[in-house]
Amino acid sequence: MEINGTDFITALKTIGAGLAMIGVIGPGIGIGLVVQGALTAIGRNPDAADQIITNMILGIAFAEAVAIYALVVSLIILFVM
């Protein structure tokens, strides 16, 4: 099988998109920490659970935004470039 220039670029793009998704490791850990903290807090003070869950979801959303940026980068590499 012959590999021409287009194939080569496609291959590099695919690898690049995969590498870009490494960026979701951080948010993954971050979300885990957020939830851990929230659950500990709820365990200590179950009465404040509503408030804590609201803030937890906010925190998760911020951490997740980073993962979404990685996803967008890889989408751009795959479909736009």
Partner: protein, 233 residues
């Protein structure tokens, strides 16, 4: 941008679309919903307050009621006890009456049945006499005057055995047919007893069986027959 599908036309279309939805809902739905939710929250708060007041009133009423209930329960207990006793007495009385009445009825019925049977047996006595006389006439080929025949019959049915003398003051006399009054007086004279109970048992065929306490004097035809049959054997 184009490759991500971001397109000014679509973008504006989406903005306008959502704007319309928001406008419609903000006009037609949310004011009513928030009003309803606020009203309901107020109403629930009010009702909670009411419920607390009602709870208090209820508790008071409950205490009152408990007191009254305890009193009423005491009174009621007494009444019930009384009624129960009276009822029990009545039941006992009714049962007693019923038993007496039933006993009386049963005794009357038994006496009646006895009388009936005795009457029938007395009737048969004459028939038996007639039959016996005619049979004897055939047998001995000679006429028999009525008087003699009667005495034979009388002997057959009501002759007390000689051993019956002096058995005691109280005796029971069993005969095959009911005894006539003169026969009864004969028996009385013979036995010398004061109180005599007469019984009828057609199974003894003839003669008399006299019982006094644990003594029995058997002058019955059946007794003679069974003695005869024992001898013949």
């Amino acid at each position: 941008m184009e490759a991500l599908g971001i397109n000014l036309g679509f973008f504006i279309a989406q903005l306008v679309n959502f704007g319309i939805i928001f406008f419609l809902l903000a006009r037609g739905v949310w004011p009513r919903v928030t009003k309803m939710l606020d009203e309901r929250a107020a109403k629930i708060a009010q009702q909670l307050e009411d419920a607390r007041a009602a709870e208090e009133a209820r508790e008071n009423a409950e205490r009152e009621r408990d007191k009254m209930l305890a009193q009423a329960r005491g009174d009621g207990q007494k009444l019930v006890e009384e009624a129960r006793q009276r009822g029990e007495e009545q039941v006992k009385q009714i049962l007693r009456d019923a038993a007496t009445e039933a006993e009386q009825q049963r005794a009357a019925a038994r006496a009646q049945a006895e009388e009936e049977r005795n009457r029938i047996l007395a009737d048969t006595r004459d028939q038996i006499a007639a039959l016996a006389i005619s049979a004897t006439e055939r047998l001995i080929g000679d006429g028999m005057d009525e008087k003699r025949a009667k005495s034979v019959l009388k002997r057959f049915f009501s002759e007390a055995p000689a051993e019956a003398k002096g058995l005691g003051k109280q005796i029971t006399v069993i005969s095959a047919v009911p005894l006539a009054d003169d026969e009864k007086s004969d028996v009385k004279k013979l036995t010398g007893a004061d109180q005599i109970e007469y019984k009828v048992d057609p199974a003894i065929l003839g003669g008399l069986v006299i019982r006094a306490g644990d003594k029995v004097v058997d002058g019955s035809v059946r007794g003679d027959l069974s003695a005869l049959s024992a001898q013949l054997r």
